[in-house]
Subunit: 146 residues, 2 copies
DNA sequence: TTATAAAAGGACCCCGTTGTCCTTTTATAA
DNA sequence: TTATAAAAGGACAACGGGGTCCTTTTATAA
């Protein structure tokens, strides 16, 4: 459904939020370890996120990644949009370029329902809400920390 | 959601069914043209489908692809299973290996709903049902034939 | 019984996503 | 004010899915 890099991005952001709540600004190495992603690749992803201002970073000694407190909650949709665009919310489940309500593929109605439901979810869910679940012990980020 | 080759496979099977109903057995070239897929690649996909006996084929002059009339309707799930396995119905939306009901990722419940709904659809829908929709003019396979 | 038309199959290529490595920039602690 | 620790950035490598091409097998029509 989502690209691997998008998944890494979401997990990374959740971890940053958790650490921020503890007053810490994690760096690439710590983040990569926690989300079980390759460090160098995580660095690239974090770069993308900061370049698009979904996340802030500080260079130099004592630097790391953090959320600017001023900004609002970050929806999963915003993350997906920046990481891979939103083609997945528009594509025909049958692979037809011409498929739409007026000119439906045979799977159009059923697939649309699923796709739209997913779209709703990612627009409503936020990094902060997911992080909160983990903080309360209702969910996990990997099989470690919790 | 589905691999491109799976989409081609489904479209190809639908077209074969439509032609079979007209008493014809289409060949690779005709199928590829209709479903707007590369001919050589379509050949590979059709090979996979016949090797797994979802479809029958006849070599030599006057040959082509067709459904064995004896066999039951073919569900989309069967096609997906043969083409790309069923990982997409089990994978965590967050990319976690350890995610399950007892050990959920923060997105588990919501994602599961979408995933399960899609699973239901592909188990219920069949190549024959989709073909019938096209035959009745209720849906299209590309922007041509209808 | 041979020429032809078709699927089957093997070997290979291409490209985007994933992933690495090394250098540069920037900030801070000593 | 310098050594160090961190992110930023550019260039490149690897892998897998998508895709091509050519040869082999098989059937049929002439």
């Amino acid at each position: 459904m989502l690209a691997k890099s998008t998944e890494y991005a979401i997990r990374a952001l959740v971890f940053v939020q958790l650490r921020n709540w503890e007053g810490k600004r994690p760096g690439v190495v710590e983040i990569a370890k926690e989300i079980e992603a390759p460090p160098a690749f995580s660095a690239k992803i974090l770069q993308t996120l900061t370049r698009h201002r979904l996340l802030d970073s500080a260079k130099g000694r004592g630097g790391g990644f953090f959320f600017n407190n001023e900004q609002n909650e970050l929806t999963l949709y915003q993350v997906i949009h920046v990481m891979e665009g939103d083609a997945c919310f528009h594509r025909c489940g049958f692979g037809l370029k011409s498929c739409n309500n007026d000119n439906p593929c045979p799977l159009h109605e059923q697939y649309k329902e699923v796709r739209d439901k997913f779209f709703e979810i990612v627009q409503e869910e936020t990094i902060q809400a997911l992080s909160e679940k983990i903080r309360k012990g209702e969910a996990v980020l990997n099989r470690g920390i919790g």
